[in-house]
């Protein structure tokens, strides 16, 4: 029973997938597909930060790498199935290499955050500087600041000529979201997932029990990167476009905000928060208010309030899925980092 309950969140998603096309217009479907791909991306961050205590500020890097990998592969091969796989594989491999240096170098949590962020910024600057036509991979020009345009949508696997309709793409986005959600819940409940939570609770104790903390962190990091890459692929497929903005600080902040607002340690909360804030964001965008101003203030507010443990009272009642914040140092799951002062 308890077991089923933890998967319950897939139901509203699947329900939306089922009835969406008969409720929303074309524009609404595309917009919700977009929201869903972003929600998928944030699942990766919610997982690695909430369960493993690894704060990756460079989650946008993996999202962007996936998005570019999809665009480049699909333009070259004219087939989306393989492109989606490439979009998962590229960020995952990249995260393994990066993770090797970060986790096996025993870089502290703070440095980890800073380096992952810098990786994102460098990727942003790099993709922005590829306007020259000489920057191309196969048939795909990188396009510099303008990005890659007219990226083909998803097609039926094996039939490159037959593109998916908007309704089908919409359903695929939501079903993938539900599947990944369920997979992460299952991972959390497995032995490996329990050990990951243990690593978050105390690295020292886990190590002294014989668990290779570095390996588990790298594993979780790669899972989050793969999820973000998949999300990037779907995002590009839905929009037919990818640009350096996939790597920019706004993108990175959105992911952070959704996890903070949705509740660290849960998966459903961040997904809901992502839908809410994306809706707010499009609304603000049309009303002319600067979104940076609003979201920057919201992040500060959430962080300051959460530290005083006011948020669970306000927010926890709304989001029943979320476990209440356990300790005052809500964003510092790894006790060792605090002790060593690094």
């Amino acid at each position: 029973m308890e077991r089923l309950k933890s998967y319950a969140f897939v139901l509203p998603i699947l329900l939306l997938a089922a009835i969406g096309p008969s409720v929303f217009e074309m524009f609404g479907l595309v917009q919700i597909s977009n929201f869903a791909t972003m929600a998928l991306a944030v699942l990766g961050l919610a997982f690695v930060w909430g369960f493993l205590g690894v704060l990756s500020l460079g989650h946008a890097a993996f999202f962007g790498l996936g998005a570019y990998a999809y665009a480049i592969t699909v333009i070259n091969l004219n087939e989306s199935s393989f492109a989606v796989m490439a979009a998962i594989a590229v960020p995952a491999l990249f995260s393994v290499v990066l993770g090797y240096f970060l986790f096996f170098g025993r870089v502290s949590d703070v440095y980890l955050g800073v380096i992952t962020l810098c990786v994102t910024l460098v990727l942003y600057n790099f993709t922005s500087a590829t306007a020259d036509p000489s920057y191309h991979i196969g048939a795909a020009p990188l396009g510099g600041f303008n990005g890659i345009t007219a990226v083909p949508q998803l097609n039926w696997p094996g039939d490159a000529e037959q593109f998916l309709e908007v309704e089908t793409t919409f359903r695929i986005c939501l079903i993938v979201l539900a599947l990944v959600y369920a997979a992460l819940v299952a991972l959390r409940r497995s032995s490996v997932g329990r050990i990951m939570v243990a690593v978050r609770e105390s690295e020292l104790r886990s190590e002294l029990l014989g668990y290779d903390v570095r390996l588990y962190k790298m594993l979780g990091f790669s899972v989050s990167a793969a999820v973000a890459g998949l999300a990037g692929a779907l995002f590009t497929a839905v929009n037919g476009y990818v640009g350096p903005s996939a790597f920019d600080l706004n993108q990175a902040s959105q992911f952070l905000l959704w996890v903070i607002a949705g509740g660290l340690g849960g998966l459903a909360g961040p997904v809901i928060a992502s839908f809410v804030f994306q809706y707010v964001s499009t609304y603000l965008g049309t009303s002319g208010v600067n979104t940076d101003l609003v979201f920057g203030a919201i992040i500060m507010l959430f962080v300051l309030l959460k530290v005083r443990e006011r948020v669970p009272a306000l927010w926890g009642r709304v989001l029943q899925f979320r476990r209440p914040a356990r300790r005052v140092q809500a964003f510092t799951p790894s006790a060792r980092a605090v002790e060593s002062g690094e």
């Binding site: 704060l55 500020l57 990066l98 240096f101 970060l102 096996f104 170098g105 025993r106 870089v107 502290s108 949590d109 703070v110 440095y111 955050g113 800073v114 380096i115 962020l117 810098c118 990786v119 910024l121 460098v122 942003y124 600057n125 790099f126 500087a129 920019d248 600080l249 706004n250 902040s253 952070l256 903070i260 600067n290 979104t291 940076d292 101003l293 609003v294 979201f295 920057g296 203030a297 919201i298 992040i299 500060m300 507010l301 959430f302 962080v303 300051l304 530290v307 140092q329 809500a330 964003f331 510092t332 980092a337 605090v338 002062g341 690094e342």
Partner: protein
């Protein structure tokens, strides 16, 4: 020969630039263990302070060297009270809060001054070395940075204030036991760090102009320099800049600036694999 001189100047310039944009961040991190993600925006605000006051008739040098650090120092004072102090000791949480601040500041400046580049022209003109032309202002920047490093070292190591600050960092409890208020020391430190970032922004404004998002152009390099340097604030930063600067200069020269920046990051990641506590770890020991 001329080419060598120009390359050497470019190297010195890169070292100076890395040091200049990192110093404020390094002092705040080294003294308070606070990673200030709004560092880039402090630089941006320093730039705006300079450009706006210079465009309102204030002498450019005064705008750069006085107005910019003063303005950002005051902003730092407020930020410390509202955001840093309530979160003190919570490293990750502070990081997130300053992240929010960074976005907020970008939004605020965009709302007030618009999303366009403002600028002032660089003073002092150029000199020629053979067929190459070198901006005198760039040379002045190198000199100013050297003077700043000297001043920081002097204040930290040779003055009463520096002694109090270092003592507080070593042992806050002991410091308060002998009558020093650690809270005030941290407030002053944060202000000083913010002022240094503002000064950097002021000095860089004539070179690049100002735009609300300009912070992002500097923070990757500043962060990389500071974490490569490790906990010895000034010397660590200087040695990191001394290693990373020439690499960037040469690669930017041979390839493109973007390649230079990517190389900077790779070098730093490799360095941290060997020295997880940065270059300072070399002489500070540990596990």
């Amino acid at each position: 020969m001329d080419q060598t001189i120009v390359l050497l100047i470019a190297i010195a310039n890169n070292i100076a630039l890395l040091t200049l944009i990192s110093l404020g961040l390094a002092i705040i991190f080294g003294m308070m263990r606070v990673i200030n993600f709004a560092h880039g925006e402090f630089i941006m605000l320093g730039g705006y302070a300079t450009v706006l006051s210079a465009n309102h008739g204030i002498n450019l040098w005064i705008a750069m060297l006085v107005v910019a650090p003063l303005t950002v120092g005051l902003i730092g004072f407020v930020v410390e009270r509202l955001i840093i102090r309530p979160l003190y000791g919570q490293i990750i949480t502070t990081m997130l809060a300053t992240w929010g601040l960074s976005i907020f500041l970008i939004g605020a400046v965009t709302t007030i001054f618009g999303n366009t580049v403002l600028g002032v022209s660089a003073p002092l003109g150029n000199i020629t070395i053979g067929v190459y032309s070198v901006s005198i202002y760039q040379l002045v920047l190198i000199a100013i940075t050297a003077a700043l490093v000297g001043a920081c070292l002097f204040v930290l190591n040779r003055t009463r204030w520096g002694l109090i600050a270092r003592g507080t960092v070593q042992n806050p409890t002991m410091a308060s036991a002998i009558g020093i208020d650690p809270t005030r020391v941290y407030a002053m430190t944060f202000m000083a760090g913010a002022a240094l970032s503002g000064l950097a922004g002021g000095l860089l404004a004539p070179l690049s102009g100002v735009i609300p998002q300009m912070g992002a152009a500097y923070i990757a390099r500043a962060f990389v320099t500071v974490i490569s340097g490790g906990s010895a604030m000034v010397i660590g930063t200087l040695s990191a800049a001394g290693i990373l600067g020439p690499t960037v200069a040469i690669l930017s020269y041979a390839a493109t600036p973007v390649i230079g920046e990517a190389a900077l990051l790779l070098l730093a990641i490799g360095l941290l694999r060997v020295l997880p506590r940065g270059i300072s770890g070399l002489w500070q020991g540990g596990r």
